[in-house]
Symmetry: C2
Subunit: 198 residues, 2 copies
DNA sequence: GTCTATACAACGATAGAC
DNA sequence: GTCTATCGTTGTATAGAC
């Protein structure tokens, strides 16, 4: 009785990406990142698990897409470390600004709204940030207390986003990337590699 | 024909404070801080302008109350500058944590929600922060580019609040004040008095 | 009778008109 | 430069709650 799905390209109209994102949103929200499985999500969406790789580059990408975060975690890390660890601070600021300026500030504001409004969204963002971005970045840098360093880094980056995209406080809202990178870069650099006086 | 209001204590039930806050919320929202006058607000509330001073300590206090910000601006400044300008960074972090830990993180989250959701709230917060807290603090310190310094300081403080009270990312969410003051204090100190490499 | 929330009057500062 | 209107704030007397 198990109807075998036909191979090959499907008839158009079945939006595989959308179906996957919807199924993933439910699954991640209900079970968290670890417990939600790609196979289960693909099953709910009625598509092959390989589609996750094809469309989102893997489980991480699907998670980011489900959270409506226009960021590929790997790109953030790579962008920050380009130029060596002694420039990671400035580079991270530049990468952050590039990503969100391109996306449009409204998306950031929307993310903040959902995080501030729903405990569930906060939990998912917590998991996302911890696991993919700042924790990994701190470990990549190779310093002590990577969780604290990552969280401190996150606090400054989120604060930057709040000022630039949500509160729109001048002169941060309109400042060019160079100015902000030079002003905030050293803060991130210290959080990542400096002496944070534990 | 002008009916002179009776002096003396009013019959109970007439809540002057609430009436003032409601009138102030409307007035500040409609006209901004400068254009809204104490006299007009008191008039709308049907009470004497002197009540603003009596209940809120002045126009600033009424504004803070209308914004539901449990912070007396003057206290922030005073708390940060206690100990001299070379310790203003650490002190500001400590004062910030003391105020919001006492209030309860939920209030901070609510403020973020309203700011992220309503452009009007963002505008008022912008005005509040610019005028009363960071701008004044930066000028009090006496450095160049006070607006940029104030905005940078604000970005780190707001980010700290987001991590501790909204996202609740560990280890920031549970860290003691000393740890955070030592970790973040130098950032604020540099923003306020250091070389921000313009 | 005491306490306090209140109204009224007046002050110094400030901004704009002329 | 002066005059005026209006602002935020302060001092003080009083009426009513307790």
């Amino acid at each position: 009785m198990t109807e075998t799905r036909r191979r090959g390209r499907r008839p158009s109209g079945a939006d595989t990406k959308t179906a996957l994102i919807e199924a993933a949103t439910e699954a991640f929200a209900a079970q968290g990142y670890d417990k939600a499985t790609v196979r289960d999500i693909a099953g709910r969406a009625g598509v092959d698990p390989a589609m996750v790789n094809h469309w989102f580059g893997g489980k991480e990408g699907l998670f980011a897409a489900a959270m409506q975060i226009p960021v590929n975690p790997a790109e953030i890390i790579e962008g920050a470390l380009r130029g060596g660890r002694e420039h990671a601070g400035e580079q991270l600021v530049r990468t952050f600004l590039h990503v969100w300026d391109t996306t449009g500030g409204g998306v950031f504001a929307g993310l903040v709204r959902s995080v501030a409004g729903h405990e569930l969204a906060a939990k998912l963002l917590r998991e996302f940030v911890t696991r993919f971005i700042f924790g990994r970045l701190a470990k990549e840098i190779g310093a002590d207390r990577p969780e604290l360093r990552g969280a401190l880094t996150g606090s400054q980056m989120v604060g930057l986003g709040m000022m630039r995209y949500v509160v729109k406080l001048e002169p941060i809202a309109s400042a060019d990337h160079d100015t902000l990178a030079r002003a905030i870069g050293p803060t991130i650099q210290r959080y990542l590699t400096g002496d944070i006086d534990i």
